[in-house]
């Protein structure tokens, strides 16, 4: 659009400035790979603080990025347009997850407005989205709202936010870590809250499902992680990694939890350290100090990958030794997700066996989309 004195439109110019500002002040909370029949998924779904859920195609990003880089050093990364955009929530979107697979895959999101919403992934990918800037072109098939609590004199609490989601496809349930220090189990079919797990003393940050034992594990701001039994909604075990050491208030929250494939090992990020637990033995095996508070952690084979409030991605072994640290541009990353591309033909064959593509996202995703390829040997 051309703005000059010949056809001056001040309103639209103001809007364009504010739009640009909005992009500048955006935070990406979660980036995950979309499921696909291809073992080497190409689409990333990104949840950001402006309430939008957008999907990007990696290959097009890379090609644009690379060519743009060659043509000019100051390539404007804002030009990468998402494939599709959904207006997910009022306020931030904190987590997105895919439910099920195949034709009926649902894209679930939760956010600051205390809602869990689900869309048919097929609808999103298929729609050509003429009004994609608004993002309302696909109607959600699931819309769940956290209950409000009634206080003294009938005062209603603000709707607590949902900070994380866990999916149990077999039972047809969604577990949500909510801001009122409870975890909720929602039934996908009926849309009702089946169970409420209450007991934490502060709001929940993260939640994972341990399906082999029909348990969920939640991590909270109060510095404890709890293991809950899904049948009785009772707390089975309280893990308090920092019980003995009295740290300052915000260093002690459990910000992330991950289970390994065998579901025997649990790692939780707690302040500036990761603690590794053996679940059958319920004992802390090792404590790994990290350079900054961990914000997301993930198991990869027998290694632990961690991102946090430092511009690095760290790789540890199970004993807590640092295997490598990879620099990434953002100061702070909220999300890490795995991308197995072992059999990807588009990459050179020389590194096809142990490849993983790590995707880390943080503030201002559009400026700082970085794809790091790490070779683990």
């Amino acid at each position: 659009m051309c703005f000059d004195s010949r056809n001056w439109n001040e309103e639209s110019y103001r809007d364009s400035i504010l739009k640009a500002r909005e992009l500048q002040t955006r935070t990406v909370f979660r980036a995950i790979w979309a499921p696909s029949s291809n073992p080497n998924p190409d689409t990333i779904v990104v949840a950001s603080s402006d309430g939008l859920i957008s999907s990007y195609s990696v290959s097009s990003c890379i090609s644009k990025h690379a060519s743009g880089f060659i043509s000019s050093r100051n390539h404007n990364m804002l030009t990468i347009k998402p494939d599709s955009v959904l207006r997910g929530h009022d306020g931030s979107v904190y987590d997105v997850k895919f439910y099920g697979d195949g034709e009926d895959t649902l894209l679930l999101s939760c956010g600051d407005d205390g809602r869990i919403r689900g869309w048919k992934w097929k609808d999103i990918t298929l729609s050509d989205a003429p009004n994609y800037s608004i993002g309302n072109h696909v109607q959600p098939v699931i819309d769940l709202v956290n209950p409000q609590h009634k206080g003294p004199w009938g005062a209603l609490s603000p709707i607590p936010e949902n900070n994380a989601l866990a999916i149990d496809v077999k039972q047809g349930s969604i577990y949500a870590a909510a801001g009122d220090s409870c975890a909720y189990c929602w039934d996908v079919e009926t849309g009702k809250a089946k169970m409420i797990f209450s007991g934490h003393r502060d709001y929940l940050h993260c939640i994972v499902l341990r399906s082999s034992a029909n348990q969920i594990i939640t991590g909270s701001e109060d510095g404890t992680a709890r293991i809950w039994d899904c049948r009785s909604a009772r707390c089975v075990h309280v893990i308090a990694p920092e019980k003995d050491l009295k740290y300052e208030k915000f260093s002690s929250c459990i910000s992330c939890i991950a289970l390994d494939a065998s579901e025997n090992w649990l790692v939780c990020g707690c302040g500036s350290s990761l603690s590794l637990w053996n679940l059958p033995a319920s004992e802390c095996i090792s404590k790994i100090p990290t350079s900054a508070p961990a914000l997301d952690v993930i198991f990869y084979d027998n290694q632990i990958l961690e991102v946090g409030a430092a511009p690095v991605l760290s790789r540890f072994d199970m004993k807590g030794n640092v295997l490598s640290q990879i620099h990434c541009a953002p100061q702070l990353s909220f999300s890490i997700s795995l991308h197995h591309s072992g059999v990807c033909s588009s990459y050179p064959s020389s590194f096809c066996l142990w490849n993983l593509i790590l995707f880390s996202f943080s503030f201002s995703s559009c400026k700082f989309i970085r794809i790091s390829v790490a070779i683990c040997s």
Binding site: W8, T25, N74, Q148, P158, P160, Y247, A309, L332, I371
Partner: protein, 820 residues
């Protein structure tokens, strides 16, 4: 066939004719009776004679008795007789045929003769016709009135009774008519000539009178001047301005006329004046005219010159001003920057005040660069120097540094940027105001001499363009924008002044939460960091090599601390690279030095600290970029080594600090300030410091100031605390830079900065109240999350944090996010 028949008839006729007197007929009859033609009979006789002779011979040879000889001889004689007879009849017949032929020949000869006669006659006629046709009249090219006119106009005595078929007489009559008419006309001509002569005579008389008139009028005018001045009627001044307008180059003329039209039609509160030397303008005009056509400029301008010269003389007499200055100026501005001697001055007054002598907002001077074909604008009386230029970015991407048109760029050649030292700038809006985008290249004064058809079409195009120009409301838009800009800048200056005195800027509007909030933190410092350089624009692509040089310069500068001596050395070192590379970052170094003149060494340290991270982050980002590309292209490179984490927590604002090259025009004229808010914590006597770098662009308030926040860690904080602050400052940034702006009413937008500062202070207080609840304040504004006040816990807990990023709950945020 017919001829044959005719022949037969003739023969028959002749046969009939000859019948009474002829022997031959008898012969013929005889012949017919015998049935043989004479020739046959001749041949038969001859054959029989030969037979008989042969017989005789045979008899003789054989000596047979000649008994038959006699008989044979008789027969021979008989045959001879027959032969003779036949011969005679043949001859007779021949005669007869000859006679017949003779007789038949006579009529043939007669008819042939007749034919020849006719042929001759015919050719004679043909010749006569041709001669007639070829006849040329003596006056072949007499133009006659057309037939229709003749029949209509000719008097009866000439027309007579003529039919249109009789061309000859018609022509004759027309000729007569023509003659009579021409005679009349020549008579008329003579009459008119006579009249003309008489008129010329009277005209000469009158001219004489008129030529004596100007001097009378002039004396009258001179006599009226004091009265005019006394009565306040600036008629003559206006007149002079209009005369001068005629001398303006077309773009300036458009500026003048359109602004004047706007003023007169819509009562715009503006003043217009043409300044400059008239003589120069005229000599320039003549020069150009000479150059173009070799003919000196038209008479009108000479007359005009006389008139104006007179006034000029008057003025000179009054002022006794030496006339050397403009000439000198002309010399100085030679080359590309040659300026037309006439300029248009525009005074813009505040339009909201009803008082006719309203507050004068700005005075602009428009000038026209001849070679470059651009109109430049200058602010009169702006003493802040060329950098502080409120006209820049009046419209997006219009810094006035680059030349607006490609053609002029080509003219200047490689040297793409406009002379920095000149305070007048070729803004794009000025070109639009002057209509350079549609004006023809030819100047108005030369139009009269050009061929008319071409000019007419050009002027038609120009006229349609002018109507488009009016439809686009260019004049109104630009005046509006200049007024808004100036007012905003005045308001901004007022706010900056208050802030410089370390006072909270006042707010008039109370309808927003921060207006009611009484800040409990202190405004510790307010300082100008950077006056964004214009030079950076001309080098948008900074090469990495330069940046690396800069990194070396950066820490060096940082290390040079407190003592003045070291500062001096830093100055030298700092300016060295700025000579080599004129990148934007080099300017940071300079700015630091400017800050040094303020004297406060402590402040300086703070600033140099806060600047160098920017430079570093920039370079860091470039390096980063490189690395990542490497990773993409060559995944096997050894990036797998454990990398060191730089303990550089100040550079947290990388995402905001990084500027995109495409938007580099935004930085033109932008200023960056550093605001420091502090608050003492009651618990442990520590101070928490919030450092905000505020970038205020020229487009304020349309582009609101951009805050980048940094909460300085006080001693003894753990890493996680820093993480917390990082998040928190990001959240505050989002509030201050974006969300709160939606709450500021539009009539308050000139005070956006004050609102933002207040809002920031409120957020900072709010944040500290949450983070250190024992600091003993602000409980009243917090909200109680009833979800957490269950009897299990037993105490009334206020919930302060929310979300994955530990964001503080801002109670009013949701209230207005639903509004918008």
């Amino acid at each position: 066939m017919k001829a044959v028949e005719i022949d037969d008839e003739i023969e028959e006729g002749m046969v009939v004719d000859e019948e009474p007197n002829s022997l031959p007929n008898y012969r013929l009859a005889e012949r017919r009776a015998t049935g043989k033609s004479p020739y046959e009979m001749l041949r038969a006789s001859k054959i029989s004679v030969e037979d008989i002779v042969a017989k005789i011979l045979a008899i003789k040879r054989q000596d047979l008795p000649g008994t038959h000889l006699r008989e044979l001889a008789t027969q021979v004689f008989l045959h001879f007789i027959t032969l003779r007879q036949v011969n005679r009849s043949i001859l007779l017949e021949e005669d007869h045929v000859k006679m017949e032929t003779e007789r038949a020949k006579a009529p043939v000869d007669f008819t042939t003769l007749q034919l020849h006669n006719l042929m001759y006659e015919k050719s004679h006629y043909l010749k006569a016709i041709k001669a007639c046709k070829d006849f040329k009249s003596k006056y072949p090219d007499i133009e006659l009135v057309s037939k229709e006119d003749f029949f209509r106009d000719a008097p009866e005595d000439i027309k007579g009774s003529v039919s249109s078929d009789d061309t000859h007489s018609l022509t004759l009559k027309r000729l007569h008519f023509e003659l009579s008419q021409r005679k009349e006309l020549s008579k008329l001509h003579e009459q008119l000539e006579q009249r003309k002569r008489s008129l010329l005579h009277t005209l000469a008389n009158r001219n004489e009178f008129l030529s004596s008139l100007p001097s009378q009028l002039k004396s009258l005018k001179k006599a009226s001047l004091p009265i005019q001045n006394q009565l306040g009627v600036l008629h003559s001044k206006k007149l002079k301005q209009h005369l001068l307008a005629g001398l303006l180059p077309p773009p300036l003329y458009v500026v003048f006329s359109q602004l004047m039209a706007q003023k007169e039609a819509f009562d715009e509160n503006i003043d217009l004046e043409i300044v400059g030397s008239v003589k120069d303008a005229q000599s320039f005009l003549r020069q150009q005219a000479n150059k173009e056509s070799g003919i000196s400029s038209n008479q009108e301008s000479f007359m005009l010159e006389d008139d104006v010269l007179d006034e000029e003389d008057d003025r000179q007499r009054r002022r006794k001003r030496p006339k050397k200055v403009p000439a000198k100026e002309n010399l100085e501005y030679a080359g590309f920057y040659q300026v037309h001697p006439l300029k248009v001055m525009l005074n813009i007054y505040d339009d909201e005040v009803s008082d006719p002598k309203a507050f004068k907002l700005v005075a602009l001077r428009f000038e026209y660069m001849l070679k470059l074909n651009v109109v430049c604008v200058e602010m009169e009386g702006s003493d802040e120097g060329p950098r502080y230029n409120i006209l820049c970015n009046l419209f997006p991407d219009d810094t006035g540094i680059a030349l607006p048109y490609e053609s002029s760029k080509i003219l200047v050649g490689e040297n793409l940027k406009f002379d920095e030292k000149r305070s007048s700038r070729p803004y794009k809006w000025a070109q639009h105001l002057a209509g350079i985008d549609f004006l023809p290249e030819v100047s108005t004064q030369l139009k009269n001499q050009g061929n008319s058809g071409d000019e007419r079409s050009k002027s038609i195009i120009a006229a349609s363009n002018v109507s488009l120009y009016r439809q686009q409301n260019r004049v109104e838009t630009i005046l509006q924008r200049i007024r808004c800009r100036k007012k905003a800048q005045l308001a901004l200056a007022e706010q900056l002044n208050t802030l410089e005195k370390l006072k909270w800027p006042s707010l008039n509007h109370m309808g927003v939460p921060w207006a009611l909030h009484c800040p409990s933190c202190n405004l510790q410092s307010w300082s100008l960091l950077e006056f964004s350089s214009n030079q950076s624009l001309s080098f948008p692509v900074v090469e990495t090599k330069h940046v690396q040089e800069l990194i070396e310069a950066g820490p060096h500068n940082k290390s040079s601390n407190n003592t003045n001596e070291q500062l001096e050395s830093a100055k030298e070192d700092g300016e060295l690279p700025s000579l080599a590379l004129v990148a934007s970052v080099a300017n940071d170094v300079k700015v630091t030095l400017r800050g040094s003149s303020c004297g406060n060494s402590k402040q300086l340290v703070l600033m140099s600290k806060s600047i160098s991270p920017i430079a570093k982050v920039k370079s860091f980002a470039f390096k980063k970029h490189d690395e990542d590309l490497d990773i993409l292209l060559d995944p096997e490179s050894d990036i797998d080594e454990p990398t060191q984490i730089e303990p550089e927590k100040e550079s947290t604002n990388a995402s905001l600090g990084l500027k995109l090259a495409g938007d580099s025009w935004i930085e033109c004229g932008a200023r960056e300030y550093c605001l420091v808010l502090t608050r003492k914590l009651h618990t442990n006597e520590r101070k928490v410091k919030l450092e905000a770098k505020i970038q205020i662009s020229m487009e304020y308030p349309v582009r609101p100031p951009l805050f980048s926040l940094n909460i300085a860690a006080s001693s003894g904080e753990s890493r996680s605390g820093k993480f917390q602050w990082y998040n928190e400052s990001r959240a505050m940034e989002a509030e201050v830079n974006l969300h709160m702006l939606k709450m500021v009413p539009s009539e308050q937008e000139n005070y956006t900065l004050a609102h933002q500062v207040h809002c920031l202070a409120m957020l900072f207080d709010h944040y500290l109240d949450r983070a250190y609840p024992s600091s003993g304040r602000g409980e009243s504004t917090s909200i109680v999350d009833v979800g957490l006040c269950k009897p299990i816990i037993g105490s009334l807990l206020t919930r302060s944090l929310r979300g994955r990023d530990h964001r503080n709950i801002i109670s009013w945020k949701h209230a207005y996010s639903k509004q918008t």
